[in-house]
């Protein structure tokens, strides 16, 4: 990403640029640079202020009130920090947070291990690896809601393909277990779908990491007669680590706020065994209509993700500097 001019055209252009006074804009016709800067940036900023920042500020305001969106004419009373207190003292919310943590932990673990392994194998550059990489990518391009909805069919106890394949290899009767209906299996059912869908993403970032390792390091290791095993643990893994950590960060943030896929697969059930934070939030905001309280919960979630992500990025930068 260096700006070093390479071609003759670039070099002469640069020389010209240097030889002219800094006030090019003043000499040419048309709008000044300042005007263009504003003209170009203002529409985006305006849109973001209206649809991104303003709702955020409004949510902060609502979180300090008793407002309920289904009673727009009721008097809005400020309640101070009571909404926050209630959210933080609500055992249901802590259960939802645990469910989310379980989901995030296992999906990230599976996706990182499988994703990295796939990237490593693809980087062996066997014949046709580019084609198969594209095939592997397909699931992550699809709509989690629409595909998640169809997975409900694959998970049907008697007729579902998933149960059939499991019973084919394990001998367990396909009608004896319900992936979505059982309290113990449902959390794993959503982990399977998420892993199926998002392992390609981790794989891709790991692949970028593996390809960023220069060949001469391996060549030097060969000269030193380092074993393949040793090369893998002393060169490949440490040098790809910043990329792996990035992939973990992105998947962590995404899965922390996971909504669509889980909503369509289980809707949080059975009971509330798969009720991740976003689903609790949706229930409080759009079914119980506790707008103030759910806004407080939303802000808490945002601060939590933001805080955790920042701590993580600091750790990541340390790894990069090594």
């Amino acid at each position: 990403m260096t700006d070093a001019p390479s071609t003759i055209a670039e070099r002469s252009a640069e020389m010209l640029a240097r030889s002219t006074p800094t006030t090019i804009a003043a000499r040419v016709r048309g709008l000044s640079d300042r005007a263009i800067a504003w003209l170009f940036i203002t529409p985006t900023i305006a849109l973001l202020l209206a649809i991104n920042i303003f709702p955020l500020i409004w949510a902060v305001y609502l979180s300090f009130t008793n407002f309920r969106a289904n009673r727009p004419n009721a008097e809005v009373v400020g309640v101070g920090l009571r909404n926050y207190q209630r959210v933080l003292n609500d055992p249901d919310i802590w259960i939802a947070m645990q469910t989310t943590a379980h989901f995030v932990f296992w999906t990230i673990l599976f996706q990182t291990v499988i994703g990295f392994a796939l990237a490593y194998l693809i980087d062996r550059k066997f014949r046709g690896h580019a084609f198969w990489t594209t095939v592997i990518l397909i699931p992550m391009m699809l709509s989690p809601a629409v595909v998640g909805n169809f997975w409900r069919f694959l998970y049907q106890p008697q007729i579902g393909l998933f149960n059939y394949i499991v019973s084919f290899f394990s001998g367990i009767p396909p009608s004896s277990f319900e992936m979505l209906g059982s309290v113990t299996l449902a959390p794993w059912a959503i982990i399977v779908v998420d892993t199926w869908m998002w392992t390609p993403y981790v794989m891709l970032i790991c692949l970028a990491g593996l390809r960023s390792i220069p060949d001469y390091i391996y060549e030097a290791a060969e000269v030193d007669r380092a074993s393949a095993w040793r090369q893998f643990w002393s060169i490949t893994v440490p040098m790809a680590l910043p990329f792996i950590m990035l992939a973990v960060l992105f998947r962590g943030i995404e899965n922390f706020k996971m909504f669509d896929m889980v909503m369509l697969l289980t809707g949080g059930g059975p009971g509330s065994t798969t009720e991740v934070a976003s689903i609790t939030l949706k229930r409080e905001a759009f079914e119980s209509w506790l707008t103030g309280r759910s806004s407080a919960f939303a802000i808490i979630l945002f601060v939590a993700v933001f805080g955790l992500a920042n701590i993580y990025v600091k750790a990541l930068n340390k790894v990069k500097q090594r």
Binding site: E14, I41, F54, S143, L204, D215, K257, L281, F302
Partner: protein, 318 residues
Amino acid sequence: MSSVNTSAHSVVEPTPTVKRIAGVIVILYALVTMIPLAWIFLTSIKSPPDSISYPPKIVFTPTLEGYCNLFTTRTRQTPDYIQSLPPATGTCDEITRSRNMVIAGPSNYWPRFGNSLIIAFGSTFLAVSLGTLAAYGFSRFRVPLADDLLFFILSTRMMPPIAVAIPIYLMYRQFGLSDTALGMILLYTAVNVSLAVWLLKGFIDEIPREYEEAAMIDGYTRLHAFWKVVLPQATTGIAATAIFCLIFAWNEYAFAVLLTSGSAQTAPPFIPTIIGEGGQDWPAVAAGTTIFLVPILVFTIILRKQLLRGITFGAVRK
């Protein structure tokens, strides 16, 4: 691998055996992950009884019943009434009558699909246009607090969509934007534009400023130079960004299900609601899913290079 390889190959080139094993494992994985997608397609051309048979059928007589059920609404009639009708016109008519039903009218699938098209392409166009302009502005001019601003804008994407949906729901209700295509286009544009600015700034930073400056010395205005010099150089970046915005808007569910219910509803919240008599009509759902997935599949395959570049580029910059 015990000694330094003296052949023309690079020493880090894997041996043929390693390559073959790697290839077999990767291809196996790829084939396994394709099973659910293949099953969606197969289910879409099964009859309802075939779709729920045990063991799952791989060999069956294909039928268009799923697609017919997807595109139409039907009413049950007595066989006598069906006998009294004029001869069936078209395949769907015949299939429907064989189930003792008649077609009552078109379903909502195509209107919902159309909404998805309008909203996805509209918001992508807006996000990429605004994003390119803003990215150029951020890249070439000193904007006060630019970095903080960009980072903050990007970080709002960390919020769960439901959290932002509460105030947006209230705001849209106030301004009459609930359940309108315009409202959804603006919303998706706002969500996408932060990513677009940020990706495109990276691409535009790579284009040497000297190009525009040389053009300006030749008498171009800055706007002209932007149009004639910078934009053509940024095409790859713009294409990569556009695919991202399009995929997001096409697949989005959370906002769509909360903010649209009727006239502006997109396909993702609609498809799960397709039901037949006595539960979910899986062939029809599979047909709707297949049609919905095809555009993205085609995009992925045609534009895979830009896509790969965009994903890894985005990751590396963050």
